[in-house]
Amino acid sequence: MLEISELSASTGNTEILDGLSLTVNAGEVHAIMGPNGSGKSTLAQVIAGHDDYAVTGGSVTYKGSDLLQLEPEERAREGIFLGFQYPVEIPGVNNAYLLKAAVNAKRKHHGLDEVDAFEFLKLAREKMTLLGMDQKFLNRGVNEGFSGGEKKRNEVLQMAMLEPDLAILDETDSGLDIDALKAVAKGVNALRDPERAIVLVTHYQRLLDYVQPDFVHVLSGGKILRSGDKSLALELEEKGYDWVKEAANA
C-alpha cells in the first residue's frame, strides 16, 4: 500500500529525514517509535503533504502511484488520514460541518452520492457512542476549547467517519489519561481490517498495550535504525533509545 524509499526531507535548511525506507502493506499495523526530534512527526506530515517540508530525495508510492505529486486533499480522498499530534482549533467552523464536508468530499471523489443530513447524523452518533464522546461536540467549533483528550478523540472520530485505507496517527496517545487512551485504542482497533493499514507514531510503549502492532520500527536521525515485532517496543521501554543507537553505531 505504502512504499517509502530512501526518503529525504528538510525544512528551511535543516535536513530531517535522511534516506528513510519503509513498506506498509494492507492489513498491517506498524508502530514508529523514536526519541524526540528523530523525524517521526515530519514523516507523518510529509505523507499528508505539508508544504513546510521539501522532499529532497527518494520516493513515496501509495497504491502504486507517486504520492508526492498529490495535493493534501487528493491524498485524503484517496484514503490517507493523518491524526494530528496537535489538532488545530478552528473557531467558527462547526465540527459537524467539517465531518460532513470531509465525508462528502471523499464520496464525490469516488463517484458516490453525498450523504444526506439524516444519514450523516446517524453515522456520526454511532461513532461518537463508540468513542464515548458527547453529542454536543458536533455543534462546537472544530477542537475549539477542547481538552487534550477531547481533541484526540475528535481526531479518532474523524478517522472513524472517513474510514481511511491508510491511517497515520501522530502521537495520538500523548497527554491522554487512561480512559481517553482506552477510547482511542478502541477506535483504532475498530478500524483494523485486512484491507487497511495503520501507522502509529508514538514516543511511548503505552498505546501498544491496547493496540498490538505487527511491526515496530525505531526512527532516529531521520532514518529507521531497527525494525522488529512488538517485543522490540518492550525492549525499548526497558533499555531506552540509546541502546538502539549504540547498537547501530557498533
Partner: protein
C-alpha cells in the same frame, strides 16, 4: 471654499427646482453653507483615506444632466422581491423619494400599532445640518421620513427601511433623510437595507437620526449591498437616554465607494451601546467605517467590534473613536477591529482612538490584521476539503461572530445567504 466644489449656478438651479414648501428655507440655508465649504477633502484627518473626488464628479455630471430625480418604476420589481423575501413592514425610499404606505409580505399597508410614519413636511420638521455632507443632503432633500415609536409600539415584525437607488443612462444623485424617535420605554427592531440597481453611476447620500428615549431598547441592523458603480455616504447620529439600549450592526457587502459615519452621543447615565460591523470588500471597492462614541456622562458602557474580510485590490478603513468627556466617570468603552486579508493587494487602514478626560474609566482597544491561518488550512485540506472550500470555510468562520449575534431573526437567513454569496465571489477570484 476649502473643499471639493460643484458649479454654483447649476447647484442653485437644482435647489430652486425643488417644490416651494416648508423645507425651502432650510434648503437655501444649507446650500449657502455647502457653497462655502464644499465636500471635505483628504487634507482633513477624518477624510485622509477616503477621497470624495468621485462624489463631486458624479454630482457634477448629474447637475449637467439637469439634476432630475430619476424615475423609480424600474426599481419596482426589486422592491417587491426584497419586501416579500424578508419578513418586515417595509417603508421604501427610492432614489430619495419616499413611497407612500407600508409593504409587507403579508400585504398590510399600515405600520404596527404605536408606530407613526410621516414626512418632515407633514411634521413641520426641518433637517438638521452641520457637517458638509449633511449640508449637501439638506440642500437637495425632497422630503424626509419621520418615524415615531410609542412606548406601547407593537413591533411584531421589524420595521424595514428599504433605501433603493439606481437609474439607467444618466448618473443619479439621491438624498435620503430619516429621523426616528423612540419614546421612553419603547422597544423596536429596525432594518435599514441599502441596495441599488441600474447601470448608471450613482451617488446616494443619507442622514439618519435616532433619538432614543429613557429605557428604550433598539435593535438596528444596517445592510449595504450596493452595485459596484454606486457610491454611498451615510451618516447616523444617535442620542441615548437614561438606561436605554442600542444594539447596532452594520454589514457592508457591496458598493464602489462607501463611507459610513456612526456618531453616538451618550448624554444620560446607564445607557448601553453595542455596535458590531462586518465589511467584505473585493476588487475595486473602498469601504470606510468611522464610528465615534461620545461618552458625555457616566456610568455607561459602549462596545464596538468590526471585522473586515478583504480580497483583491481593495481598500478598507476603520476608525473607531471613543471620547470620555470630563465627568463621565464609570465609563466602560471597548473597541476592536479585526481584519482578514485574502490578497496582498488589499489594504486596511485601521485606526482606534481613545480620548479620555475622566478618571474613573475602563477603556480598551485592539486591532489585528492577519491572513488565513496556514495550519488551519492544511488541517482542513488533510480532511479532503478543496483549498478553495477550506479558505471559504475559514473566511466564513472569521465573519461568523458578527453574523451570529444578529438580534433580528427575520433577517438572519437572507443576511447569511448574502454574506455567503459575497464570500464565494471573493474566494473564487482570489484562489485563482
Amino acid at each position: 471654499m476649502t473643499g471639493l466644489s460643484l458649479p454654483d449656478k447649476a447647484l442653485e438651479r437644482a435647489v430652486q427646482s425643488l417644490p416651494d414648501d416648508s423645507l425651502s428655507e432650510t434648503r437655501h440655508a444649507a446650500l449657502a453653507r455647502f457653497l462655502e465649504r464644499g465636500f471635505p477633502t483628504t487634507r482633513l484627518e477624518d477624510w485622509k483615506y477616503t477621497d470624495l473626488k468621485e462624489v463631486a464628479e458624479i454630482s457634477r455630471r448629474w447637475l449637467e444632466g439637469g439634476a432630475t430625480s430619476a424615475d423609480t418604476s424600474a426599481l419596482d420589481s426589486e422592491v417587491q422581491r426584497i419586501c416579500s423575501s424578508i419578513d418586515a413592514d417595509w417603508i421604501v425610499v427610492a432614489n430619495g423619494v419616499i413611497s407612500p404606505g407600508v409593504i409587507s409580505s403579508s400585504g398590510t399597508s399600515h405600520p404596527g400599532k404605536g408606530i407613526t410614519v410621516s414626512t418632515y413636511s407633514e411634521s413641520s420638521l426641518a433637517p438638521a445640518f452641520d457637517v458638509p455632507l449633511a449640508d449637501f443632503n439638506a440642500a437637495l432633500l425632497t422630503d424626509g421620513l419621520h418615524i415615531r415609536f410609542n412606548a406601547d409600539a407593537a413591533n411584531d415584525r421589524p420595521l424595514g427601511l428599504l433605501i433603493i437607488d439606481g437609474t439607467d443612462g444618466l448618473p443619479g444623485v439621491a438624498q435620503t433623510r430619516i429621523r426616528i424617535e423612540f419614546d421612553d420605554g419603547a422597544k423596536a427592531q429596525l432594518i435599514e437595507y441599502q441596495v441599488s440597481r441600474g447601470d448608471a453611476d450613482h451617488y446616494a447620500n443619507a442622514v439618519v437620526e435616532l433619538s432614543i428615549g429613557n429605557q428604550a431598547v433598539v435593535d438596528y441592523v444596517r445592510v449595504q449591498n450596493r452595485a459596484e458603480n454606486h457610491i454611498q455616504t451615510h451618516r447616523t447620529e444617535a442620542r441615548l437616554g437614561t438606561r436605554s439600549v442600542l444594539r447596532y450592526s452594520g454589514f457592508d457587502l457591496g458598493g464602489q465607494l462607501i463611507r459610513n459615519d456612526l456618531d453616538v452621543a451618550i448624554d444620560a447615565p446607564e445607557a448601553e451601546v453595542s455596535i458590531a460591523g462586518l465589511y467584505v470588500a473585493g476588487d475595486g471597492q473602498h469601504i470606510d467605517n468611522h464610528v465615534r462614541i461620545d461618552h458625555q456622562t457616566g456610568p455607561a458602557r459602549s462596545t464596538q467590534e468590526y471585522r473586515g474580510i478583504l480580497g483583491g485590490r481593495c481598500r478598507c478603513v476603520w476608525n473607531g473613536k471613543a471620547i470620555v468627556q470630563p465627568g463621565a466617570d464609570g465609563t466602560d468603552a471597548e473597541q476592536a477591529n479585526h481584519n482578514l486579508l485574502l490578497s496582498d493587494r488589499s489594504e486596511i487602514d485601521a485606526k482606534p482612538e481613545l480620548e479620555i478626560y475622566a478618571d474613573d474609566v475602563k477603556c480598551s482597544h485592539g486591532t489585528t490584521v492577519g491572513q488565513i491561518d496556514d495550519n488551519a488550512l492544511f488541517y482542513l485540506r488533510t480532511r479532503g476539503l478543496d483549498k478553495k472550500d477550506a479558505i471559504r470555510a475559514l473566511t466564513r468562520a472569521f465573519g461568523a461572530s458578527i453574523v451570529s449575534r444578529l438580534a433580528i431573526s427575520e433577517l438572519a437567513e437572507s443576511l447569511t445567504a448574502m454574506v455567503e454569496a459575497r464570500l464565494a465571489e471573493l474566494t473564487e477570484s482570489d484562489s485563482q
